[in-house]
């Protein structure tokens, strides 16, 4: 049973209150019409699937109903940190460098926070 700290509610709650929503920090292409099929397919379907640290999106579905990010180890399931949308993880692994935004696009989570 995972206990997950919701950064919006400020407390640890049982995993039953949450839904996992997949890999975090996926930059939405700024101009989808200008994407090649390859870029669009990568954006829609291709995911990092590391054995190790994974930055992922969760929603506190039966709580505050807000999204946040978590850095979790996919073998031990240990959650190293949770942080709000728009923030950057402080715990990273080598494998996660690949998921950094490409110059093609902007991470809408970060962009949204600035706006």
């Amino acid at each position: 049973m995972l206990n997950i700290f919701c950064p919006h509610c400020g407390e640890s709650r049982s995993e039953e209150e949450f839904h996992a929503a997949g890999q975090a920090h996926i930059p939405r292409p700024l101009d989808p019409n200008a994407c090649t099929d390859q870029e669009w397919g990568d954006y829609l379907f291709f995911r990092d699937n590391p054995r190790g640290l994974h930055h992922e999106l969760w929603i506190h579905a039966a709580g505050c109903r807000q999204y946040f990010n978590a850095t979790r180890h996919t073998v031990s399931y240990q959650i190293h940190e949770t942080y709000k949308i728009g923030e950057r993880p402080s715990v990273t692994a080598k494998a996660s460098i690949k998921s950094e935004p490409k110059p093609l696009a902007v991470d809408h989570q970060v962009a949204g926070a600035k706006a």
């Binding site: 049973m1 996992a20 890999q23 397919g41 995911r47 699937n49 073998v75």
Partner: protein
Amino acid sequence: MQHYSGFGLFKHALSHNENWQRMWRNPTPKPVYDVVIVGGGGHGLATAYYLAKVHGITNVAVVEKGWLGGGNTARNTTIVRSNYLWDESAQIYEHAMKLWEGLSQDINYNVMYSPRGVFNLGHSLQDMRDIERRVSANRLNGIDGEVLNAKEVESMIPYMDCSKNTRYPVMGASLQRRGGVARHDAVAWGYARAADALGVDLIQQTEVTGFRKENGVVIGVETNRGFIGGKRVGVVTAGNSGHMAMLAGFRLPLESHPLQALVSEPIKPIIDSVIMSNAVHGYISQSDKGDLVIGAGIDGYNGYGQRGSYPTIEHTLQAIVELFPVLSRVRMNRQWGGIVDTSPDACPIISKTPVPNLFFNCGWGTGGFKATPGSGHVFAASLASGEMHALAKPFSMDRFYTGALIDEHGAAGVAH
């Protein structure tokens, strides 16, 4: 290879069963093979067997990190069926089904394939419409299927709660009579033994740590026991495929999740078929030993831990007790998790990759066991010729760029 037969059993009984041969050798890796297969589960071993038997390529190695058939092959709920909606998947699963029917004779190993019938229950009008559509599609593809109403279901599964008082009443079902179960371990062991007899090297406890490339073309695998050369390399590593792809330098549209199953204490025979429900989300059958074999959905988050979460167990058993209130006091004996590689359209990826001579067979997600013989058969043909088999072509990873997805999510009558 020592041939197994009834007479052999008798003969060995006379010598107190002390003269049975080992099922396979434990060879030292050769420097180079025609084909190296990464992953010694059912699909990998089937691939090796058909490479040797159908294509005459016997200079083959199967490299396995742990022991043969110790991953998802040993962790599934052993269900075999081919009632998929779309033509592409129906054809590959039916190809597997036809091989299941003669498999024990083919590999001289009893895989205990038992066509006891698979029911997919409908609990709403929409479920019933979907069932009629799927059964019609199956029949057009030459796959047996019947639509049953609630009365017929009740008469065939007497212990199930088919009353109208339940939250999700049973309104009917589809039935594939050729579907059923097979003994999962026997499938791996049988393929391993038959492949070994044809000269395939089964190399266990050898972990692939990387792929060696020359001018961008793969020429073998790096392992914790040194380099093993391979003119072609086929990766069949289920839940670890994403990790393997990362080692090879590309990404796959896969996410690995834990999928749980449970078995109960052995009880008297009560369920003589396989019963699956998409809506209440559970499936159940009974093994020859008497254990109820139960499964349901994946845990929602990515994980490689080979264990599942308690909320998922609870959800699974709620579904089973909803269908079978009579089972509410049966105790569960064991519970385990396997790591399944789920793809966005719930269909496998049998494909060439961006690296020449490197092939992947993965993405079978929650339903790979039933496909074991067919998957191995078409992947062997693809590895032998270097071109994808006709049945495998629609499952290329290019489909995620062209948009030609095979959307079996929710369509296959399966609890994904």
